[in-house]
């Protein structure tokens, strides 16, 4: 063992400095501390950015993409994003006498190139039949003979032409001609033709739609570019992006306003009950219990019809009111519990001892100390309000058309889910992202603001 070498300077007293007294880190307020903890949580931070992006989408979006959400583009109905926007200029529609034909091939064939103006079909007469039925399908005709939309029935075996003018859109159609015997029963004669339809537009139409001006020198066969729809159009030819932005305004307005209002009401109710206490507290909370027991969605629907929607109204206000009337008790309970707890704290007694009045106590001590819990409740209330709005609009009890909301857009999209999935996917995606972002943000806020409620993750 070696002896420790001490030098004489080891025995000098330390210089007493002022710095020893000072606190090395800056003193943080509750909110600063919470913000630092929130920033450390990547998931919550990303969610916060998503929420900010959604706000920008709602508020700034219509400025950048200034398209009327109720404007119909009749040339482009139900088109998915990224569709070919070219249209060929053609002469105005001429009635068909059934004599023109492209090439002579046996069986079902096209008499003229298939365009969105008209599709002209021609086939060979078959002996022994007394008529034909013509069908159109968007899907291949399988062995189960799903022929699709019945278009026409001919009552003569010699009538072997058909012109389709019904809602033609660019894409692929499967036409079928089915032979019918003298009793009107189906026969074995069935021919199917795959038709690829190209988009055309007449000069007059193009002028009306503002695609060309009168001075322009254009010839038939020239190609025009139709209006741009980044996310496609819906079943009425309305721009999806513009509708999603307008819908965001409705959905987020309800999703944020309703929780804000009912949390505010709940805070007032709950703090009143918690502070007054005694028999009033019992009575107030018993009433809150009754409201909680009301079956929520049933009463949402009931209240919606009670508050009524007049003609031309969107129905946002009744929904807001119904949400507030039914949803406040949860917050009221929570705040009451918090207030009761805080009332026991020593600093309240100290403040009272110093002569603080009730108003001061509530506003200076009680509300600020419950603020964290209230904020977390608010964040979790947003997704549930958005869900409620979407749910009600989905079953047709929400905002009235033509006002778009994400829920009502889903409702419209689900009808054409099989043929035009984009009409359902975009609003559904936006609802999901919004709800996800608010849920994760709520988790992060809870972890950052309230040590007792910290989740075990």
């Amino acid at each position: 063992m070696s002896a420790t070498a001490f030098a004489s300077r080891d025995f000098e007293p330390l210089v007493h400095t002022r710095e020893a007294q000072s606190i090395s880190r800056p003193s943080l307020s509750y909110w600063q501390d919470a913000w630092i903890r929130l920033k450390a949580n990547t998931r919550a931070l990303v969610s916060l950015y998503i929420v900010i992006a959604l706000m920008a989408f709602t508020i700034l979006g219509p400025v950048v993409w200034n398209v009327d959400p109720s404007l119909q583009d009749l040339d482009q109905i139900s088109i998915p994003p990224g569709t070919d926007r070219r249209a060929t200029l053609v002469a105005p529609y001429q009635p068909w006498d059934g004599t023109t034909f492209l090439e002579v091939t046996p069986g079902l064939r096209l008499a003229e190139p298939a365009t969105t103006q008209s599709i002209r079909l021609l086939w060979d007469p078959v002996e022994g039949l007394s008529g034909y039925r013509i069908f159109r399908n968007l899907f291949p005709v399988g062995p189960e003979r799903a022929l699709g939309l019945p278009l026409a029935e001919h009552f003569s075996a010699q009538e072997v032409t058909f012109e389709d003018l019904l809602d033609l859109v660019p894409g692929r159609y499967y036409y079928s001609v089915l032979g019918v015997n003298e009793f009107g029963a189906e026969t074995q004669y069935l021919e199917t033709l795959v038709v690829d339809v190209s988009r055309v537009i007449t000069v007059d139409d193009a002028m009306v739609r503002g695609l060309i001006d009168e001075a322009a020198e254009l010839q038939l066969g020239d190609v025009l570019i139709l209006g741009l729809h980044p996310l496609g159009t819906d079943y009425l030819g309305r721009d999806m992006l513009a509708r999603l932005m307008a819908g965001a305004r409705v959905s987020l307005f309800i999703g944020i306003c309703a929780p804000f209002l009912y949390v505010l009401f709940g805070v007032i109710y709950g703090s009143a009950a918690g502070f007054v206490g005694g028999r009033y507290d019992q009575g107030l909370m018993r009433f809150a219990d009754f409201v909680v027991a009301l079956p929520f969605l049933l009463f949402m629907i009931l209240f919606k019809i009670v508050f009524g929607i007049g003609p031309g109204e969107s129905g946002i206000a009744p929904m807001l009111l119904a949400l507030v009337v039914l949803s406040w008790p949860a917050t009221a309970r929570l705040v009451r519990g918090q207030i009761l707890q805080i009332r026991q704290e020593a600093y309240i007694s100290a403040s009272q001892l110093l002569g603080a009045k009730t108003n001061y106590l509530v506003l200076r001590h009680m509300i600020p100390n419950t603020m964290g819990v209230i904020l977390v409740t608010l964040t979790f209330a947003v997704p549930s309000a958005i869900f409620t709005e979407a749910f009600l609009s989905f079953i047709g009890m929400g905002v009235a058309p033509p006002t778009p909301s994400w829920g009502s857009m889903c409702n419209e999209g689900i009808k054409t889910m099989l043929t035009h999935p984009h009409e359902l996917i975009f609003p559904a995606l936006l609802i999901s992202i919004t709800v996800l972002a608010f849920n994760l943000l709520g988790d992060g806020l809870r972890d950052a603001l309230d040590a007792r409620m910290r989740s075990t993750e």
């Binding site: 219990d289 009754f290 027991a293 009301l294 079956p295 929520f296 969605l297 049933l298 009463f299 629907i301 009931l302 209240f303 019809i305 009670v306 009524g308 997704p383 869900f387 979407a390 749910f391 989905f394 079953i395 047709g396 009890m397 829920g407 889903c410 409702n411 689900i414 889910m417 099989l418 999935p421 359902l424 559904a428 609802i431 999901s432 992202i433 709800v435 996800l436 849920n439 994760l440 989740s455 075990t456 993750e457």
Partner: protein
């Protein structure tokens, strides 16, 4: 226990009375009335119809008649469907909704407990991340989207195999119930998984688990007899509210899958302003939910002896 049960039951009855009254007031402040749906009728016919349904009496008297009928379990006659009693409608359509709901709750409960326990056991490992990702997805995607997507997948699967493996919509066999009840239970399952995970994490390192380990019990036995049994308690407490969520969530699933349940019928009745059907269904559902919550609370006392029912 008996006293507690009685107290809860009395409270439940008062709550149901409150629901019935709120429904009555709400329905009587609706603008328009069910008779205005009919074709233009003369004043006499209208007066006759009002007399038939008791709409000509003062509101307070109507309220007492309505309450008296409720006590006898009579919800009245439908306005829009001639001579059809609301009781009949409930009797016919509620079993469908109930079957769907029970299946959904079973899926949600079993799935939630299983997945939650699994994530806790594999904490911060691959199964945990995968399941928790799915859970967050399950919480964030609205049920009607899930319903639509699953319907779309059934169609695609059926086309792929060329035969109808699963029915796309409708009601009847067990195969019809499978997908709708899964979809219906999904949100609750996600919620229960989260709950189960956090309650399991608290228990994984509890003293009694360590004791069991040191006594040399096999891991499976510790899992089933000690961890699972204790961690499952919070799940049981939220089962009551979950039943409510699943019952109302049934509206959408019934709507999308074309299931003839009470939820779909309710939406239809609202659209037609069918007073008696709306009131009857609301009160019925309200009472059902109130008593389900009571049953779950009582059950909780039986499952967890630490809970004193006072």
């Amino acid at each position: 226990m008996l006293r507690y049960t009685l107290k809860r039951l009395v409270q439940g009855v008062i709550t149901v009375w409150f629901i019935a009254t709120a429904t009555f007031i709400a329905m009587h402040s609706v603008p328009g009335d069910p008779l205005s749906n009919e074709k233009a009728v003369t004043a006499e016919i209208r007066a006759n119809l009002e007399a038939k349904y008791g709409l000509d009496k003062p509101p307070l008297e109507q309220y007492f008649i309505y309450m008296g009928n409720l006590v006898r379990g009579d919800f009245g006659i439908s306005f829009t469907q001639q001579n059809r009693e609301v009781n009949d409608i409930i009797r016919e359509h509620f079993p469908v909704s109930a079957t769907l709901g029970i299946l959904a709750i079973v899926f949600a409960g079993l799935g939630g407990v299983l997945w939650g326990a699994l994530t806790a056991l594999y904490r911060n490992r691959l199964p945990d991340f995968v399941i928790m990702f799915l859970v967050i997805l399950g919480i964030s995607v609205p049920s009607f989207v899930v319903a639509a997507i699953s319907q779309l997948s059934i169609v695609n699967i059926n086309t792929l195999f060329g035969i109808s493996l699963l029915p796309v919509a409708g009601w009847g066999t067990i195969w019809h119930m499978l997908v709708p009840s899964l979809v219906l239970g999904l949100g609750t399952m996600a919620y229960l998984t989260r709950l189960m995970r956090s309650s399991m994490l608290e228990i994984v390192n509890a003293d009694f688990v360590r004791t069991a380990k040191s006594k040399g019990l096999p891991a499976t036995r510790i899992f089933t007899n000690h961890q699972l049994r204790n961690a499952i308690l919070p799940v049981i407490t939220v089962l009551g509210p979950s039943i409510a969520a699943i019952t109302t969530g049934g509206f959408v699933v019934e709507f999308v899958f074309a299931i003839p349940g009470l939820g779909r019928y309710f939406v239809q009745a609202v659209q037609q302003l069918d007073y008696t059907v709306i009131m009857g269904t609301t009160v019925f559902y309200g009472a059902f939910l109130v008593f389900m919550v009571i049953v779950v609370d009582l059950l909780y006392g039986l499952v967890d002896p630490r809970v004193r029912l006072e």
